[in-house]
């Protein structure tokens, strides 16, 4: 999708303003939003790829302007409603109650099923997207490739700034579940990923700071054609 998230090489976003000593989260609700997204995935309501696509599909001005976890809320809440876990009416009503101070944060009553333990264990076990390869990779390290002119409105991980550009395969990290499929309720469709090197000169022409610089991306086999 050529969405508002597809930012590589765009102009006009101003200075990077790092915040010294920034905490992981600025607000308690941000940390809780983060965990609720993970919990929803662990409960199987949706997968990470669906969450990313839900973020990309937010109205462009909202995506660009809002706080990171505002986006997560909009994406996750939208998915939970569309998956039938909660209803929009329920959510709107409860939000109104909180805004009016008529609702209180829920208190734990020990009725959990150990989800916290599960989540913590997943943090350290990971949830690899790598899968056993299916067949041999079509490309090899050293191959000259061109990134496809992929202009579909569906989810994919090919930034606009490399579409149609020529690069060279420098590594083959392995086969991974295909985001393009999972984001739309499809199967894992394990697909080889290739690390591809693009020269800054090829990407940015005269605007490159130094043509000899390199930008590397990890691109699914389906995004590449031999040069």
């Amino acid at each position: 999708m050529n969405g508002p998230h597809d930012l590589g090489g765009r102009h006009g976003f101003g200075t990077v303003t790092p915040e010294p000593g920034e905490p992981p989260w600025h607000h308690d609700w941000e940390s809780r939003m983060h965990v609720m997204a993970l919990a929803s995935q662990v409960r199987g309501f949706f997968v990470l790829d669906e969450q990313r696509h839900a973020c990309e599909k937010l109205p462009p001005a909202m995506y660009i302007h809002c706080n990171y976890y505002e986006r997560w809320f909009a994406a996750v809440a939208g998915l939970l409603v569309s998956k039938g876990v909660i209803t929009q009416d329920q959510l709107d009503a409860r939000v109104a109650q909180f805004l009016a101070g008529e609702a209180k944060a829920p208190v734990d009553d020990g009725s959990g099923d150990g989800l916290g333990d599960t989540l913590v264990s997943i943090i350290h076990s990971g949830a690899t997207a790598m899968r056993d390869p299916v067949g041999e990779p079509v490309l090899a390290v050293g191959d000259a490739v061109v990134a496809k002119n992929l202009q579909v409105p569906t989810h994919h991980r090919l930034p606009s700034y490399v579409k149609g550009k020529a690069g060279v395969v420098t590594a083959i990290p392995g086969a991974f579940t295909l985001n393009d499929s999972l984001a739309h309720g499809g199967g894992e469709d394990p697909t080889y990923v290739y690390t591809v090197a693009f020269s800054a000169g090829d990407l940015w022409g005269e605007a490159a700071e130094s043509p000899a610089d390199t930008v590397y991306l990890d691109l699914f086999e389906t995004y590449l054609t031999p040069a």
Binding site: G9, E19, R52, F73, V85
Partner: protein
């Protein structure tokens, strides 16, 4: 929402589409509904937040870098297969399953970005800072890395080649910063204190020993 000053393009500060208190109310409301639906409990969330805040952060990645500085064999393993090498120290995990380490040198400087969203090695570096998720860094790093480094007060030599790693799939990247001069005598643990989060993303250098005092 405050009007943007049309001439002021330094707007990397935090934005809000809705007033923060409204977003907070939404997140609270979502939690209360999920609790009622039996999806999770407040304690589950507390436990996970605590895990993030306590056990995940740049201090983990710093240990990996310090070990690579002092242990040439480990450095080789890290450069050959970082996923397994970080697992030795227990730092493999969620969003950090497949890792590649890239080593800075006097002539090559690596930087890491996720132009499409905010991919980040959680168990190595914790939760990404706001600037890493913000539009300015994501849009400019691949286009004008040195100009971005200037925003961090970092200047590279004219002959240094920049390699920018755009985290577009499930591979996560860890930059091994150059070991600061004058640290030959320092123990591994002390060396780890010189390794900043920014240096492991390629937007800073490791600290000089004096800086840590």
């Amino acid at each position: 929402m405050p009007a943007q000053d049309p001439d002021e393009h330094r707007h990397g500060t935090e934005h809000h589409w809705n007033p923060p208190e409204e977003t907070e109310a939404k997140v609270r409301a979502l939690e209360s509904l999920l609790v009622e639906a039996g999806v999770l409990t407040p304690a589950d969330i507390d436990q996970m937040v605590d895990e993030f805040e306590t056990n995940l952060g740049p201090m983990n990645g710093a240990k990996v870098v310090a070990k690579a500085w002092v242990d040439p064999a480990y450095r080789e393993r890290l450069l050959a297969d970082a996923s397994t090498a970080i697992e030795e120290l227990g730092f493999r995990g969620l969003q950090t399953e497949v890792v590649v380490a890239v080593e800075n040198s006097p002539t090559v400087h690596h930087m890491v970005v996720c132009t499409l969203c905010s991919c980040y090695p959680w168990t190595l570096l914790g939760i990404p800072p706001t600037w890493f998720k913000d539009n300015a860094y994501r849009s400019r790093s691949v286009l004008e890395p040195r100009s971005v480094l200037a925003d961090f007060g970092v200047t590279l030599g004219p002959d240094v080649e920049v390699k920018v790693w755009d985290t577009s799939a499930e591979v996560r990247y860890l930059v091994i910063p150059q070991r600061p001069a004058g640290t030959e005598q320092m123990a591994e643990a002390e060396l780890a204190d010189l390794v900043t989060r920014d240096s492991m993303l390629g937007v800073g250098f490791a600290l000089a020993p004096e800086a840590v005092g």
